[in-house]
């Protein structure tokens, strides 16, 4: 039998709260330790205990990180989804199933490995049998696929950091799994793992932790937050790193953390901190941003630095709280009532989560305006291979703040909202400085900050704000372009689609097409995006939502002759993007465009 090495997908069906996540992370880490390009997706429910959870492990020597379009190896532990999971498998798939689950195994066309997982686990410790069951299937997989024992041991020690008892217990359970496979089953499937040499050293980290670290290296001074999935990990990681990164020898920190009473208050605190001259931020998800809208308009209009991280989950409303989507784009870019426009940074990798974490603070103070980080559940909560974080290549940019009286005196005429430099960015003084005291307000104001309803004052103010944000276009992270010389089809996309785009590209190119990629990393868009569109025959705007939000923004901002060249492929089912679905949709769209 020909073997299939490092190119398959494992789907593990368990129940939430049974400890399967730690077993799954050990499996993922052990494959990673063997140098195999691997990705893991946790498909968890909005629940603490009992509802179905799936963990998808994709091995791909090509580096594909999407979940894969089909399951090759199914682990069945959870009776609740048993029949459905079994039914969805293609002929020839492998099924490792808990024969103690009192469920039927009614497929004849699959490779079946029954394992009495519960009784094996009970042998070790009946009290924690449920927990141990999970590590038993890791042992089975290890033996079946040929995972190195040393890789497993290394993964175990990382997972349980020094907890010798837990490591010992899990080692025993792994051994039981391995032995059971050796003694009672014979390998009938083609799937194996093969050790690879990694070109560069890498580690696994989730986007939320990477973002949190970036915020610390941006010198965040106040975090105000309200817990919400999937963003809590950012706030929790910021808190976790305060002692190590932001605390002096006396145990005093330079980063205040307040758990607010709601998202409205969190936004208010961020804006208060920005107004006072500090670096304030919050982390939330779409529902939180909805609640913050009024404050976002205030920060835009009164020009107060403030940073908001949105880890996008599925909307509208409460939606699917534990699933991923790219559907907050418009809400962030044009947030709050009236005419507004905001800077949005959109990382696609964990390295960028870190980088945009500190850059968001700089941009916010530079442009005196709210800055959003737009991550998503897939990027934020799943672990991704990371080559390490790069130290900021510039000092903290505190923007146009007048701190010294002689600088202040040198102004011929000082007005908080006076455009001295012609870039739309005025100068500000801070409360307590004694210089140019003004009453910040959300009402209309003149260049001195004094209340005004005069048409000219309003028009001038709105025009300056537009000029200010437009001025950011070429200073924000530039789009990443990967172009084919033929310039046939261009695909514009954002964020965590980065992890699926190459597989989509390969599928499209397998049909003979030549496909270029353009990943937008910030709004407002750079002029480079328009040039990319101009160079290409047909351009697809690919995004994970229903309505083509990014496409809508492009249509609004591109010159007329380019508008007709961009076509929307927007789809979201809540799952991390599977390459086949999107490549099929792109092919269908290209067909449609041709006619």
């Amino acid at each position: 039998m020909a073997t299939i090495a490092n190119d398959f997908t494992i789907n593990i069906a368990t129940a939430n709260g049974t400890g399967s996540q730690s077993a799954n992370l050990i499996l993922l880490q052990s494959l990673f330790e063997m140098g195999i390009p691997v990705s893991g997706k946790n498909m968890f429910p909005s629940n603490i205990s009992g509802l179905p959870t799936w963990y998808i492990v994709r091995l791909s020597d090509l580096g594909y990180q999407a979940p894969g379009d089909r399951t090759h190896i199914q682990v069945l532990v959870n009776p609740a989804t048993w029949d459905e999971d079994l039914e969805s498998l293609e002929t020839g798939s492998v099924v490792i199933w808990n024969s103690d689950a009192k469920m039927e195994m009614n497929r004849e066309d699959v490779i079946s490995y029954p394992v009495p997982m519960s009784s094996l686990a009970r042998k070790i410790n009946p009290k924690i049998a449920k927990l141990v069951t999970n590590i038993v299937y890791v042992g089975i997989l290890a033996e079946m696929l040929g995972i190195n024992q040393s890789a497993l041991e290394s993964a175990l020690s990382k997972q349980f950091k020094g907890k010798e008892k837990a490591i010992g217990l899990n080692l025993t359970a792994l051994g039981l799994g391995r032995d059971y496979f050796k003694e009672n089953l014979s390998k009938e499937d083609p799937y194996v793992v093969e050790q690879r040499e990694l070109k560069t050293a890498k580690f696994f980290i989730d986007g939320n932790e990477a973002t949190a670290l970036g915020c610390h290296f941006g010198g965040v001074q106040m975090l105000a937050w309200y817990p919400i999935t999937p963003s809590s990990g950012i706030a929790e990681a910021i808190i976790e790193y305060v002692p190590q990164l932001r605390t002096n020898d006396e145990g005093e920190s330079t980063c205040a953390v307040i758990q607010a009473e709601d998202e409205l208050a969190a936004a208010g605190m961020v804006i208060g901190a920005g107004w006072a001259g500090g670096r304030g931020m919050t982390a939330t998800s779409g529902p939180g941003i909805s609640l913050m809208q009024e404050f976002i308009g205030l920060a835009y209009f009164a020009e107060v630095p403030s940073v908001f991280w949105d880890v996008n989950r599925v909307g509208p409303s409460t939606g699917l709280p534990t699933r991923t989507q790219q559907s907050d784009i418009t809400m962030l870019y044009e947030g709050s009532h009236g005419d507004t426009q905001h800077i949005v940074l959109i990382p696609g990798t964990v390295e960028e989560c870190f980088e945009f974490g500190w850059r968001a603070m700089d941009y916010s103070e530079r442009f005196q305006t709210p800055v959003f980080g737009l991550s998503d559940l897939d990027l934020g909560m799943n672990r991704w291979a990371c080559e390490g974080f790069t130290y900021p290549d510039q000092d903290m940019d505190r923007g146009k703040v007048v701190r010294d009286r002689d600088v202040f005196e040198a102004f011929e005429d000082f007005g908080r909202y006076l455009d001295v430099d012609g870039d739309g960015i005025p100068y500000r003084t801070l409360p307590g400085s004694g210089m140019d005291p003004i009453l910040y307000r959300g009402t209309g104001h003149d260049t001195k900050g004094v209340y005004s309803e005069k048409p000219k004052d309003y028009v001038d103010l709105m025009a300056r704000l537009k000029r200010k944000i437009n001025g950011a276009r070429e200073l924000l992270p530039a789009p990443l372009l990967r172009e084919e010389i033929e310039c046939e089809v261009g695909v514009i996309y954002i964020g965590s689609m980065e992890n699926t785009i190459q597989e989509i590209d390969d599928m499209l190119e397998a049909t003979g097409l030549k496909v270029s990629q353009c990943r937008i990393r910030a709004l407002p868009i750079s002029n480079q995006v328009g040039e990319f569109i101009r160079r290409h025959e047909t351009v697809i705007v690919l995004e994970m939502n229903r309505d083509g939000q990014l496409w809508g923004i492009l249509r609004k901002e591109l010159p007329n002759d380019l508008v007709t060249k961009v076509h929307s492929v927007a789809y979201s089912d809540g799952q991390p993007p599977r390459a086949r679905i999107y490549s099929d949709l792109i092919m269908a769209k290209l067909e449609e465009v041709k006619q």
């Binding site: 050293a201 580690f203 980290i205 670290l213 290296f217 010198g219 001074q221 106040m222 105000a224 990164l245 932001r246 002096n248 145990g251 005093e252 920190s253 330079t254 205040a256 307040i258 607010a260 009473e261 709601d262 409205l264 208050a265 969190a266 208010g268 605190m269 961020v270 804006i271 208060g272 901190a273 920005g274 107004w275 006072a276 001259g277 500090g278 670096r279 304030g280 009024e294 404050f295 205030l298 990371c386 390490g388 974080f389 130290y391 900021p392 000092d395 903290m396 505190r398 801070l430 409360p431 307590g432 400085s433 004694g434 005291p437 003004i438 009453l439 910040y440 307000r441 959300g442 009402t443």
Partner: protein, 351 residues
């Protein structure tokens, strides 16, 4: 050559930091003539001037409504933030967290604080944010032309419409139950009492709520209103005569009253002296404070004075475990961890 204008010499009174009272005034008020809020603004100006607070050290905070417009009418040399409806407490909390060295003077109204903003008021009290929270309470929404607010008394009738039948929210009772460290009620017409209470609140470290009945002359000043000038004047139960004694040189000479009095020492060493009028009120006793409120309420009266005080509570900044300096004074080099620290982090992740 133009003529140099001359004017007769006159004496200007300066406070202890050599500032004239003009340094504490603001722009002209756009509120209705006779509005209670303008009287309060004048007391704020007087209190800040007399206490010799540097104007730039004060931060004026407000929400939305008639009351929240007033920061434009006092302390023109102070920075301020006229925020959004009911959300001034959170903005103040954020500002205070990064700059604890300012004196935060919040002004709000009953529309702002008792309805949309009640949650934020509660949580600012719960955290003991170090701020003065002046609540200009008139029982109606003035800026939207006279709808009842959540503090309108039962049976009270505004100029237009039917008497209010909805149970009012007593924000002082609420604050006492929440353990607010400084709770007072006053009346915009009681200048002297208000002056002492505002000064005491400024000397207090922690959340100081002063709920001030401030009649709305346009929509709620008729005889049938329980928050009209006439009614409050006739039905004001004063707990004590409050006198603020600053702790600084030269010490203010105060008459030691005959009879009972109680001195409460505030965080900056100043004292508020509460002189008993009829029955002694113990402001350190929450039950007594609530009893005073309920007794007055039962007789449709308004009790004024320092209702409750607890100087022992740590303020929010003490809970946050921050460095000694205000965070905005920490240099960037101490905010951003070094590249060596990042190298170590990267290495630890890889090991």
């Amino acid at each position: 050559m133009s003529e140099v204008p001359t004017r007769p010499a006159k004496v200007i009174k300066l406070n202890m930091i050599n500032e004239p009272k003009d340094s504490y005034t603001g722009g002209p008020s756009s509120l209705c003539p006779g509005c209670g809020h303008d009287q309060i603004s004048n007391v704020i100006i007087a209190a800040a001037w007399e206490n010799g607070i540097e104007p730039h050290r004060i931060a004026k905070m407000s929400g939305i409504g008639c009351s929240s417009k007033t920061p434009a009418y006092y302390l023109g040399q102070s920075h301020g933030f006229n925020t959004v409806h009911g959300r001034m407490p959170s903005v103040t909390t954020g500002a205070y967290t990064v700059n604890k060295d300012l004196l935060y003077l919040g002004v709000s109204g009953d529309g702002d604080s008792a309805s949309i903003g009640i949650g934020q008021l509660i949580h600012a009290i719960r955290r003991n944010v170090d701020m003065v929270y002046i609540l200009e309470n008139n029982g109606v929404y003035g800026l939207t032309k006279g709808q009842y607010s959540a503090t309108a008394d039962i049976g009270s009738k505004k100029k237009k419409g039917t008497p209010n039948q909805t149970q009012p929210i007593d924000l002082c009772a609420l604050a006492i139950n929440l353990g607010c460290s400084f709770v007072a009620r006053s009346f915009s017409g009681s200048k002297k009492q208000l002056n002492s209470l505002i000064k005491a609140a400024m000397s207090h470290k922690g959340f100081a709520l002063i709920d001030i009945i401030s009649p709305c002359v346009t929509f709620n000043n008729n005889d049938e209103s329980l928050k009209s000038y006439g009614y409050v004047k006739d039905n004001n139960v004063t707990l004590h005569i409050a006198d603020y004694i600053p702790n600084r040189e030269p010490m203010k000479e105060v008459e030691v009253p005959e009879g009972h009095f109680r001195d409460i020492t505030l965080h900056d060493g100043s004292v508020i002296r509460l002189e008993t009028i009829s029955e002694e009120h113990d402001p350190t006793n929450a039950v007594a404070a609530l009893s005073a409120l309920h007794a007055a309420d039962a007789e449709s009266k308004h009790v004024t004075g320092l209702l409750y005080f607890d100087g022992s509570k740590p303020s929010l900044i003490e809970d946050l475990g921050l460095v000694e300096r205000a965070l905005i004074d920490v240099p960037d080099s101490e905010l951003r961890p070094s590249s060596e620290i990042l190298d170590k982090l990267n290495a630890a992740f890889l090991s």
